[in-house]
Symmetry: C2
């Protein structure tokens, strides 16, 4: 039939039983007459265990050696998965990142794929073998092993699909697909049949936890059709692709992201460029700022509030304290007990009533909005973390019920 690239995450291969289960899925696809190339992550907690081992010895190990260490996680899973497929009686071969020709730049621990030399993979496919490739890893121009950082295995899979011109790239995970909201607490949430790359990008970056942004960006760039589905059942998943819709749905999904912290600089001198100074300082330290609000100054003082990822809070506060002589804030306040709730939909750009409807839903639920930010295809609000799930449900049911 065609060429299918599949990706299985760490939970999908966490033990022998799961590995056998994945092997059966792969061989089912192969039996249908497809060429199959599979990218796999490290099993369950392997990567964390390896990081722990490293920390026991050296908290500040070089990234080059960390990559050498962490790459073993995927090498273990590809060989075990290949053994499982052998057991089922199918021809198979496992390939590490370098064997599969995954060439990256030289940024250890956060490498970018430059190209995939597909010669070896193609020759194995010509031999009718199922090809199992280690996700998350590649080789740089020094012949050193590199890893791709967060979301690396998804990126490996999409890069393989792009390089091999695969018909589809199936991302197997522990959820059924992309939902209109998190079904764990939003009982009316339902699965989307398809979603555009741009919408998926917003959902991914907003905490939908299904696909990593890098992989969606790459899929968009090379027009790789993605299918997000569960490795634990046979439900149809969600397709991520260039969706051509006659009438675009207003809102496609509602997300919640607890991984944010709010910082407020109160009583900052109201002079031009003050905000720029602050954000440039943070950017230089590699800290991404998300929502931003600046109060209207009175010519003397103003307040600047913004959010950062929770993991960046401490570093941000340290930086701001150190630069108090420049910033001259009366007070620096912060809180971790906030969540970002967002709606995403390509259709909302042409519909001015969306924001109002969202605020109405929150108002009806007596939820206070602390900050607001909008873009072409999303609207985000910051709320107290304790209200976040209720907020998602209220907004979801307002927009997406029926």
């Amino acid at each position: 039939m065609g060429l299918v690239v599949q990706k299985y995450g760490g939970t999908s291969v966490r033990d022998a039983e799961r590995v056998m289960n994945v092997a059966r899925r792969i061989t089912d696809t192969y039996k249908q007459g497809n060429n199959v190339v599979v990218a796999v992550s490290a099993q369950g907690d392997t990567t964390d265990d390896l990081i722990e081992k490293a920390k026991e010895i050296n908290e500040n190990a070089s990234k080059r050696e960390m990559d050498m260490l962490l790459a073993t996680g995927e090498q273990i899973s590809i060989s075990l998965l290949a053994m499982a497929i052998e057991k089922l009686g199918f021809p198979v071969i496992s390939l590490t990142g370098w064997q599969a020709g995954v060439v990256t730049d030289t940024r250890y621990s956060a490498a970018r794929i430059k190209r995939i030399d597909t010669e070896r993979i193609r020759s194995e496919l010509d031999k009718k073998r199922i090809v199992i490739v280690a996700g998350f890893q590649g080789i740089n121009k020094y012949d050193d092993i590199t890893t791709l950082g967060r979301g690396g295995s998804d990126t490996s899979a999409v890069a393989l699909a792009a390089a091999l011109h695969a018909d589809v790239c199936e991302i197997y995970t522990d959820v059924d697909g992309v939902y209109t909201a998190d079904p764990r607490f939003c009982k009316n949430a339902y699965k989307l049949d398809d979603i555009s790359y741009d919408e998926m990008l917003e959902l991914a970056s907003l905490g939908a936890n299904v696909l990593h942004n890098r992989s969606v960006e790459m899929a968009k760039k090379y027009n790789v059709k993605l299918s997000v589905r569960s490795s634990l059942n046979n439900n149809e998943g969600t397709y991520v692709k260039e969706v051509e819709q006659v009438e675009k749905m207003l809102v496609r999904g509602v997300t919640r992201d607890n991984d944010c912290a709010r910082i407020a600089l109160c009583g900052v001198e109201d002079t031009p460029g003050k905000a720029f100074q602050v954000f440039q300082m943070l950017a230089k330290s590699g800290i991404s700022v998300d929502l931003i609000i600046q109060s209207i100054g009175n010519g003397v003082q103003k307040d600047i509030s913004f959010t950062v990822a929770e993991g960046d809070l401490e570093a941000s506060l340290k930086l701001l304290e150190e630069n108090q002589p420049v910033i001259k804030a009366n007070e620096i306040k912060w809180s971790k007990d906030v969540s970002k709730v967002s709606i995403v939909g390509a259709g909302m750009v042409n519909n001015s009533g969306v924001a109002a409807t969202m605020f109405e839903a929150l108002s009806d639920a007596h939820i206070n909005i602390k900050m607001i930010a909008t873009s072409e295809i999303k609207i985000s609000v910051l709320v107290d973390q304790k209200d976040a799930e209720r907020a998602v449900v209220a907004i979801h049911d307002k927009f997406l019920l029926n």
Copy 2:
């Protein structure tokens, strides 16, 4: 000063503390002005754990995939050891087998090193880096990872020393060096300052458990000077080299090997070629036969006894039972409760009294000899396993005390 190759086994790097200890030894050697190249084994039980993981999935996994899996064990230890050396503030780089240019033949799980392309290692040494190489593994002409089988890391170290023309190859293990007998039960045993390759070969194959034979053979072939020493203290070890002795010592060591089983074919037809048939049959199944005794036949029947490794006993018996129509033995007897006790020494070839003295020692200790075999530099006897340690002590004290 020079170029030193060191090898550390799995117990020497089994946890973070041991890894740091090894790192200090390596940097001590480096601080003395040496170029240092280190071959490392997988930590402690890593290899066994990986084999266990494989067996859970597929008892008959292909050797190619087993090698892919097992090679991760050494990749983990080289990166951890490099991190430990980084922590001590020294320049270091870890290299997998393929990065280090270790090219093998295509026999997965039992590969032989064909050559080492030393370009990468030399360029790292030129940068004044300590080079940590994964032992036990290499790459074959298909760009596949291979492993060297038992004793692989010793072999890697010796091959590196030969290819780099190292001044010495230091094998660090958990014993101080090569002893005249096992000091755990032979209280008068003492450490040898040096020993010849040939003597070491006999001692290694007879259960001295210090160095694997393959590595000694390779060291002899390329005239690599070996130093066997402990990673846990600073005692001088034992040198294995071409020993030039004015007067060769009669006996250098006494060994005991419990890993043997005795099989007796009683009442076999006394026709020419019968023994040949039996041993050819075993050889074809990859079973090595060690000591052999054939009783003097009476023209009708004879007895053939021999020993095999304990792990081969079951397969041997099965094979013999199946071939009873050809062998026509009246009875096939076997026992695991036997040990092989041997004396080794390059000098004994010219001294006919050695065997007699050995038998006298055993007789004085009231130990019954079941089988005897001699070669140019060794004499082995088979005794009841319960008598083996007493036999070693008796022989040792007869030859080596003073």
